[in-house]
Symmetry: C2
Subunit: 340 residues, 2 copies
């Protein structure tokens, strides 16, 4: 995948958009499913660009169209009629158009058949990937991650039959049990957002000091708590030790954030390890490198398999869904291992 370095070429088979809460990425695919260009804009759905006069756009749609035109308008001008497929929070109730949740379990074909169409004022058609909902006493939802998971499952090392446990760490971590081209089950952990709010808005943050490097020893210490003899006291009690270990001189301020990160990720992975894995023997992580590194340490501490790290999963997933939906037509056999 290349960053933008040149004028658009005229072999575009698909434009893919990864459109989340805080940012927007656009991929220009050729007919073999390779990404020829990638662009990044800050136009997340909560941060759309203002109109030319600096004021908010007068309509909801106009703001989304402005962001859309900015990130890929020239590609469509060069090659009108190229199909566009978007995933992520752009399909939420706060997005461009709400794309209803499909019921989980769901396959690639279910997702491809459930696209929502948005008509751009300039005539472009934008298709949005549905999110997934898993019903139950504690319902779960995802929006965007379904595309990443399908990208992982289409990746170069994809397994043929065995279920795979795919971790998508972040603000709201998802852990997805997938098999072939289907999503069987998933769970959500608010680990990233809880970490940020405990650090930013509680007494625990007051004694934390910025550090130049990650304190892996403090992180590992935090990781172990959820499997220690003190485990039954639970998270609401454990987190207070971030402060008291500081008070007793056992944990310097510069180590406290990493300790708290270890505590929380340890709780998440401990919960994961207690779930039935339905025979999954492979774990794949897909996320920011530092976060994947932390989760790999946590998986090792809790006896789970060493993870593989997935790259470019969103782009690959968009291509998979577009071809399954008939939006894009692969031109040669390479497309079956599309968008590596």
């Amino acid at each position: 995948m290349e960053q933008e370095t040149q004028a658009p070429e005229t072999d575009t088979a698909l434009i893919g958009l990864d459109w989340g809460t805080s940012s927007l990425r656009a991929f220009r695919f050729d007919a073999t499913g390779q990404v020829q260009q990638m662009r990044h804009r800050p136009w997340g759905i909560m941060n759309l660009p203002p109109a030319a006069d600096g004021q908010p756009h007068t309509t909801h749609a106009a703001a989304f169209e402005h962001a859309f035109d900015d990130v890929c308008g020239d590609w469509l001008q060069a090659e009108p009629g190229v199909p566009v497929l978007a995933c992520g929070m752009v399909g939420s109730a706060q997005g461009w158009r709400e794309a209803v949740y499909l019921e989980s379990p769901a396959s690639l074909d279910h997702l491809a058949q459930g696209l929502t169409l948005v008509q751009h004022a300039a005539g472009h058609q934008v298709h949005i990937v549905p999110g997934l909902i898993q019903r139950g006493d504690l319902p779960n939802v995802m929006r965007g991650e379904e595309t990443q998971v399908l990208g992982v499952m289409a990746g170069p090392d994809r397994p043929d039959q065995a279920p795979v446990l795919i971790g998508l760490p972040g603000t709201h971590s998802k852990w997805v049990l997938a098999r072939k081209r289907s999503i069987a089950q998933f769970h959500t952990f608010m680990t990233g957002e809880v970490f940020a709010t405990l650090r930013g808005h509680t007494i625990l943050g007051r004694t934390m000091q910025a550090a130049d490097t990650t304190d892996d020893a403090a992180f590992a210490r935090g990781l172990q708590v959820a499997r220690s003899a003190d485990a039954p006291l639970g998270l609401l009690s454990h987190i207070f030790s971030t402060r008291t270990l500081g008070l007793t001189g056992a944990l310097p301020g510069s180590a406290q954030a990493d300790y708290l990160s270890g505590l929380l990720i340890g709780h998440e992975v401990a919960a994961l390890a207690a779930q039935p894995n339905q025979g999954a023997t492979r774990v794949v992580l897909c996320g920011e490198p530092d976060l994947c590194r932390r989760y790999a340490l946590a998986l090792a501490a809790y006896g789970l398999p060493a993870p593989e790290i997935a790259e470019n999963a969103t782009a690959r997933g968009l291509w998979q869904i577009a071809t399954a939906a008939g939006l894009a037509t692969p031109s040669d056999t390479r497309s079956t291992e599309a968008a590596r």
Copy 2:
């Protein structure tokens, strides 16, 4: 106990101060240990009064002396030399003078022998009750609660020998195992602060709507999660259901805060129920009435004994410590059941 309604009388045996982070209360005790007057000021240690010119005081001590004079200066003017005993965050590193933590377990006598003396510029002597520290892999500390616990144990229904489990729900809930006049063990849960920060600073708060009354059904629903089949998923996963139950129409915005409150308090009480209770068959709660009501529901849901509710525990505890320290001398036999 009476609120202030009259000029000070001249039979004061002790002035007690309950001096926390956000407020300051003063008690004027007679020689039988009865509270004759009680005053409340907003002068918590993080909210001390400004100097007369509206500017901050030039010294740390001057700000504390100002608050002190405001709440009880006239009592000391009327009866110079009356002993003063303070408990709470006034003895923290950010307080008037740091009162070192005593090691737990600790008895009434240990606490009474560990007072820290502050000399007021006007000549008054102020004694500060030490906090307690419980060492271990996850250290615990308290400051102020030790006084409440001793007050509970000196209360009218105090048991003679059997251990009592005392709950002090709040920002940082404490659960204390006490026996006779000693604190054997305690735990801290950051339940109140976590609730406030999840509501105020995460996505969970965005769909919450204010409600006129408590939604006990939503609270009870949240309470049950930590003992449900989904319990192993843990708190970081459970809290996300506050949002997803809203998305699926199963939990209106006006019920979401009470559901989250139930989730968190349920986790706290589930952890408590898993701890060895060392034979405690009685549970006493000491805190805000609405919070005590919620915890009583949680205790019932988790099969713990129905709690008694303690009143005036801090005042009673201050009197107990003052008499054990020899600061106050009870004038008659009523003092052995002091400050009811």
